[in-house]
Symmetry: C2
Subunit: 97 residues, 2 copies
Amino acid sequence: MQTLVIYDIANDRVRGRMADACKDYGLQRIQWSAFMGDLNHNRREELSQRLRSLLGEEDGCVQVFPLCDKDMRLRFEASTPGYRRRLELGRERFKFV
Amino acid sequence: MQTLVIYDIANDRVRGRMADACKDYGLQRIQWSAFMGDLNHNRREELSQRLRSLLGEEDGCVQVFPLCDKDMRLRFEASTPGYRRRLELGRERFKFV
């Protein structure tokens, strides 16, 4: 089932590790702090626990949503070409202060 | 149906307007750039078009996901008390540079 991960974490290092974990599970970046991809129930549970462990006591939040086919068909997106291009290049344009 | 809105927008003013639009539609902030709440199909469509219009040519991305009851039951969240407290207070701790 498609799985959406969104997170908001102040610590650059922890945020980077969250992204790496999502990539390890085959998810694709859809926003700077949001990933999506196909995971079965067990893999989704595994990833959720790994993300919880990575967060630890760090300041932040991570949420994981399974998305059924019907929900996926009804999703909406608007984005600008420049944003999509940079997302593909993997170049972050902001940092936390 | 529960609806999740996530966005990533560089321009502070536009980002603020996105948040205001989500609040106008009764959504609650679940991360600094993520809102959730109950919307019927028409309201979800309306909000999506409003968000698209607010984004305009600005650099960024906004995505809207309907979440059925089953998907909602299977969602996962990990967050720290300090983060949740600040979210309730509505105080942003970062800005785009």
